[in-house]
Symmetry: C2
DNA sequence: TATTATAAAGAGATCAATCTCGTTTTTCAA
DNA sequence: TTGAAAAACGAGATTGATCTCTTTATAATA
């Protein structure tokens, strides 16, 4: 004779997560406390601890569910040209950076940097890097295979380099704000540089 | 009848700072405690609190004193060509990234990201950005003025962009380790890209 | 409607870190 | 040598966050 349906349980979980998300965004990962999460969710310690056993547990469930923050959905738009996809990707990143304060990315950086020595987090960091690297690499490599891109440098290195730049620009936007660092100009500049490296076919005549 | 000379006081300060530095490097800023600092310095709480009133106070004194970590000494070598100086700068950065684990940089990132909302830290972050931006800009701009560089893009944007990249590569090295991200190749790649943007005079003939 | 298993509540025990303050030690000048 | 002022000590008071555990409420079934 159990008393609550799995659906209901999931609804409670989602409700806790939704308010926890706001807590993390507003206070940051380190500054947020379980008490904040308990209070803002309108529940009790008992109620929340029934679902999550600590702050990290809540945060990891959040991350798992909205992995899209910083992860990349390359599934769609397979039919467009490699360079178009690349431009779309850059636009997407630019948009994400601008809205960085209203997402979990700043908390992720906190979580990864502060916990850089902890085994579990190292694993997560590594997995995330491989996933991001893999999806960007595949998508550019496809463009090369199809003869749409003629990169002047090894794609492997280019991808590592692009990730470094993206991480840097996220970090700078978080701590300095995107106006001070001239985000828009940096992105335009980066697009130009990338084009001159990847050499998309429709532009070769202009070289 | 005071009892201790200012020199002695400074020596004690330095002694505390030296051991505190190791504590921060080994444990990270957030994980380090005053107890760690007290213990590792072979002193008592009373003894340490006579000089510093909390962990942040110790850390800020450390930062102030070894600002060179991440700051840039452009004072020397004014006579060399702009491109040589740039290459030297890049080499210096590459070296710093490789040794990032044995310096305070990881703690700085912790301190800045976790405290991104605190007024005092915001100010520090801003000052640091302006200082770094200013010194890189000046040094490249000088090269342009002297006719040694012919940048194909606005220098302002280039500098913002370079800082983003450097911060990104520091961050990636801290959380992923520099082997995984192919640091050396990234730097070689970056040098090539920068050369094609800054167009140093001795290379124009090869274009 | 009564039963009962489970969910939720929330007071308080526990833990860990900070920092103070009364005591002891040191150092220098007389 | 001694005495007084400052330096250093370190036990313990304070704070704040975590998480448990007992109690209370709820909801499905019989």
């Amino acid at each position: 004779m159990p008393k609550i349906t799995d659906q209901k349980k999931d609804a409670v979980r989602m409700d806790i997560l939704n308010t926890a998300r706001n807590v993390f965004i507003q206070k940051g990962y380190e500054a947020a406390t379980m008490k904040d999460i308990v209070t803002s969710s309108g529940r009790s310690f008992g109620g929340v601890y029934l679902y999550y056993s600590n702050k990290e547990d809540v945060f990891l469930d959040l991350l798992r569910r909205q992995y899209e923050d910083m992860a990349l959905d390359f599934a769609s738009e397979k039919q467009m040209s490699a360079w178009c996809r690349f431009e779309q990707f850059m636009g997407e990143q630019e948009r994400r950076v601008k809205e960085v304060d209203s997402g979990l990315a700043p908390c992720m950086y906190e979580y990864f940097i502060v916990g850089r020595r902890e085994e579990g987090r190292r694993k997560l960091i590594e997995d995330r890097y491989q996933a991001v690297y893999g999806s960007i690499f595949t998508f550019i490599y496809d463009g090369v295979q199809r003869g749409e891109l003629h990169p002047s440098q090894p794609v492997e290195t280019f991808v590592h380099w692009l990730i470094s730049f993206m991480d840097g620009i996220f970090l700078e936007s978080i701590i300095n704000g995107f106006e001070r660092i001239e985000l828009v100009k940096q992105f335009d500049f980066l697009r130009t540089v990338c084009r001159s490296i990847l050499k998309p076919i429709e532009l070769e005549e202009y070289q």
